[in-house]
């Protein structure tokens, strides 16, 4: 099967959600899970072929995909975690009433993610990248009746969207400098140092950092916990936030020679790791606990990628796999707790082990993996990580403290709620059924099974993803009594101490620390509010509903841009030399009539006189057209004038009375000066455009060909309906739209006037 077809089926599934939902309700989740399960099978039996469909050759965009190396690891995890989460969603959302909205966005997100980790061409990657941002916006804001959910969704969209734009700019710059347009070409080149390349690396870096919630862009992730449990389970374990990690891994092999790249990754990674782990430790909300440990883990991954050690990328991949599996399982377990007890506070949930035994197994194994107790993937990844960490000795405390804290958190989320006796009587608990526990079970058990590296599943994939100067990581649970093992035991012991002293520490923090919004949240809010204030100020300035001001602004703008041209010309001598010599009596007389009409309009207090004078101007212009040999225009002008006078008379009662007490200065004075200047400018430019020959006039062509080619002797009409027919088509379309808009405007006006 070609990968394009597989992806296309996914997008079709997303589009056809309403039909599915009608017949099988939330069990649609199982359909997607089947589709993902097939993907997992097909990928590992090499049934997929990458294929290539050219889209826009000139920009180097083509539907080319990479199904090997890092992409394969990511794909496998997305398949596995995705299928589990979709099975979970099928049960979790059974009673939800907006299934269409949820599953459309969720499936769309999943497809975008599959596309993102496989796309070869940069711009295609970017398209999928944005698609994940947009669909996650809809998912985080799923409970859109709550203001906080809407706000969090918007915050996530703005943060990752802004990062996405930086990423886009960075990619275009990179493409421009190197001439490369896809990831598969990257291995072939050696980059030359240049400041532009430097900029592009920083921009790409910002894109990845925002997406992967790295400090200082981490604030959107905990807020995104407003989403329903399946969304958090998928977005914050294997997909959304891992997109940035994927990008770092893809580009690391060519960018790691740049200090800015590796230093930013290590510094920001360690800050994020510490910040996430420390904050997670004193949370009491289940999902917040998990969210902050996700941030910590993302920090760990970034820090690892930033290391120069040839094995570090491989270790990061193992850590990614371990984290995706246990974190998705724990998020689902948190969702189950919420379903069962209606609570998310870890201090209030306990003794659920007997009530939901299958969830106990899934959650327990996942928590073991997160603490790092053998035989689990979590243990394996931590062994490897410490092995690399020892070589960068300064990072060792960060690893140990960060992972100990995460170990304590794992206990609170995945083990403690199952132990002891329940605070709530069993009769008040909701029995969620078996289906909901399948997802966490699969993932929890995979954490154990995969750690033995059966049939070299993991090892072979990692080996495939090796690039030229990387070193593969040995996947053995037992590597003998060595320093990493002792450090690993230290971490577990510290985690145990963390659990033991948790009540004391928590009450100490409660007494000495006032709960407040995180600083970064406040900064975001401030920037956002300031932008809105500036926007409303500008709107007030330019669009206050006063038509006179609109006209003045437009005219001033015109004058401003034209002034540089006008100032260069000596207008008086120009008038003498050019205009005066061609003036004849009749047009001059008409001009005088027009001038009289204008002064009448300006001075009169009566509406009818003003309207009639307007008509007078129109008819005089029509007469001018006749004199200058344009009967068509004259005819049109006369009819238009007649019609508009009729319309005006009809609307007379709607036109505001001309106020006699209007101030002459400054209002009228400014208006008069502006009008005169504009009049001068327009006439000057008209004159100039008629007299100066820039290119041979096209009217010659029209004159010669009007009858020969277009079969008509009326040149104006031939131009309208034939030579420039396409323009006319556009014009009549605009005319129609104007009529429709007017309808909308008037309807809006009447409905606001309704109360009387």
């Amino acid at each position: 099967m070609v990968w394009h077809i597989y992806l296309l089926i996914g997008f079709l599934l997303a589009l056809s959600v309403p039909i599915w939902i009608k017949f099988i309700q939330s069990y649609f989740g199982l359909v997607v899970a089947l589709w993902l399960g097939y993907g997992l099978y097909a990928l590992n039996t090499n049934l997929f072929s990458a294929g290539n469909i050219v889209w826009t050759d000139s920009f180097g965009i083509s539907f080319a995909f990479i199904l090997t190396g890092i992409s394969k690891v990511f794909l496998n995890i997305i398949f596995l975690v995705g299928a589990s989460v979709f099975i979970f969603a099928a049960s979790y959302l059974k009673t939800s009433d907006r299934l269409n909205q949820f599953f459309t966005a969720f499936t769309l997100f999943l497809c975008a993610m599959l596309g993102l980790v496989t796309a070869d061409s940069f711009l295609l990657t970017f398209i999928f990248w944005e698609l994940t941002s947009i669909s996650s916006y809809m998912l985080i804001g799923y409970n859109h009746e709550e203001e906080s959910a809407r706000k969090s969704a918007l915050q996530a969209l703005i943060t990752t969207g802004a990062g996405g734009l930086c990423f886009f700019a960075g990619l275009i710059l990179f493409q421009h400098i190197t001439g490369l347009s896809s990831f598969s070409e990257l291995t072939r080149i050696e980059l030359k140092q240049s400041s532009l390349l430097y900029t592009s690396i920083i921009l790409i870096l910002i894109g990845g950092l925002t997406k992967s919630a790295q400090f200082p862009f981490h604030f959107w992730l905990p807020n995104a916990m407003k989403a329903p449990a399946p969304v958090s389970a998928l977005l914050h374990s294997a997909t959304m936030v891992k997109a940035g990690i994927y990008l770092f891994l893809r580009l690391d092999s060519i960018f790691d020679q740049w200090n800015i790249w590796s230093h930013s990754l290590t510094v920001l990674g360690s800050v994020t790791l510490m910040l996430g782990a420390l904050t997670a430790y004193y949370q009491t909300d289940l999902k917040k606990l998990l969210a902050y440990t996700t941030i910590a883990n993302l920090g760990a991954l970034t820090l690892l990628i930033g290391f120069q050690h040839p094995m570090s990328s491989q270790v990061a991949l193992v850590l990614f796999v371990a984290h995706a599996l246990y974190k998705a399982a724990l998020f689902m377990i948190a969702g189950i707790f919420e379903k069962v007890t209606g609570q998310r506070d870890i201090q209030k949930i306990s003794g659920l082990g007997k009530f939901i035994p299958l969830a106990w197994i899934g959650g327990g194994t996942a928590a073991l993996s997160m603490i790092g107790i053998p035989p689990t993937l979590g243990f394996l990844s931590k062994e490897l990580l410490l092995k690399v960490g020892i070589l960068e000795i300064w990072s060792l405390p960060i690893w140990i403290i960060g992972f100990s804290l995460m170990g304590s958190v794992a206990w609170f989320v995945g083990i403690k709620p199952f132990l002891g006796t329940s605070h709530i009587p069993t009769t008040q608990l909701y029995q969620p059924g078996v289906l909901i526990t399948i997802g966490p079970l699969i993932l929890g058990l995979s954490s154990i099974v995969l750690s033995f590296n059966p049939f070299d599943i993991l090892g072979s994939q990692l080996a495939e993803s090796l690039t030229r100067d990387q070193q593969s990581a040995p996947l053995h649970l037992w590597t003998g009594l060595n320093l990493p093992l002792f450090l690993s035991i230290t971490v577990i012991v510290l985690a145990g101490l963390g659990v033991y002293f948790h009540p004391q520490i928590l009450s100490w923090i409660k007494n000495n620390h006032k709960p407040s919004k995180p600083l970064s949240d406040l900064i975001f809010d401030f920037i956002f509010a300031t932008l809105l204030r500036i926007a409303s100020y500008l709107t007030e300035l330019f669009q206050n509903g006063n038509l006179t001001r609109y006209l003045l602004l437009i005219f001033w703008g015109l004058l401003f841009f034209a002034s540089s041209l006008l100032l260069k010309i000596d207008i008086l001598s120009y008038i003498k030399a050019e205009i005066a010599s061609e003036l004849t009596l009749l047009p001059f007389a008409l001009a005088v009539i027009i001038a009289i009409c204008i002064s009448l309009i300006v001075t009169t207090q009566r509406r009818l006189s003003a309207i009639v004078s307007m008509g007078g101007i129109g008819y005089s212009i029509a007469a001018l057209y006749v004199l200058l040999g344009a009967p068509d225009l004259a005819l049109t002008q006369v009819i238009v004038e007649t019609l508009s006078v009729i319309l005006f008379v009809f609307l007379l009662h709607e036109v505001p009375l001309l106020k006699s007490e209007r101030k002459i200065w400054p209002n009228q004075g400014i208006a008069a000066i502006t009008s005169i200047l504009i009049g001068l400018m327009v006439s000057f430019f008209t004159w100039q455009s008629l007299t100066s020959e820039i290119a041979p006039s096209i009217s010659e062509f029209f004159g010669q060909n009007s009858y020969l080619k277009a079969n008509g002797r009326n040149i104006v009409n031939v131009i309208i309906v034939d030579f420039r027919g396409f323009d006319t088509l556009g014009e009549i379309t605009v005319l129609s739209i104007a009529a429709v808009t007017l309808t909308a405007l008037l309807i809006g006006q009447t409905s606001s006037r309704e109360p009387k």
């Binding site: 009819i639 009729i646 709607e654 008509g712 009326n714 309906v721 034939d722 309808t743």
Partner: protein, 143 residues
Amino acid sequence: MNHHLIKAAAKWLVPFFWMAGIFMLFRGHNEPGGGFIGGLIVGAAMVMSYIKVKRRPDQFKVLGTAPSTIIGLGLLLALSSGFLSFIQSGAPYMTSSWQGELWLPILGNTKFGTPFYFDTGVFLVVIGVISKVFLMLEEESWK
């Protein structure tokens, strides 16, 4: 407002305006005139015949239907006229194709071809827009 004068005049002017508008449309390709002018004249006729009957604006019919339908029909005609030569010979969109001449009273020999159909589309759109705008404004004062 007192519309008696306009009413009296409309009785005679409406048919005349109609004829003038259509005349303009047909002669447009060779003599001064065309769909736009023709549409304006017939639009004026519409306004006058509205004044004559003075019915509720939303019940007033233009060419037997609502003005927005006329706008749509006109746009559709203009848009689709460009496809004729494409269907006939695969020429690019909006290449003109002429079907032949027809002798018509008063107008004489009149040529028929895609530019003329296009112009008729413009004619209809203009009639529709003028009637629409006018009727909308009337509806306002009717309330």
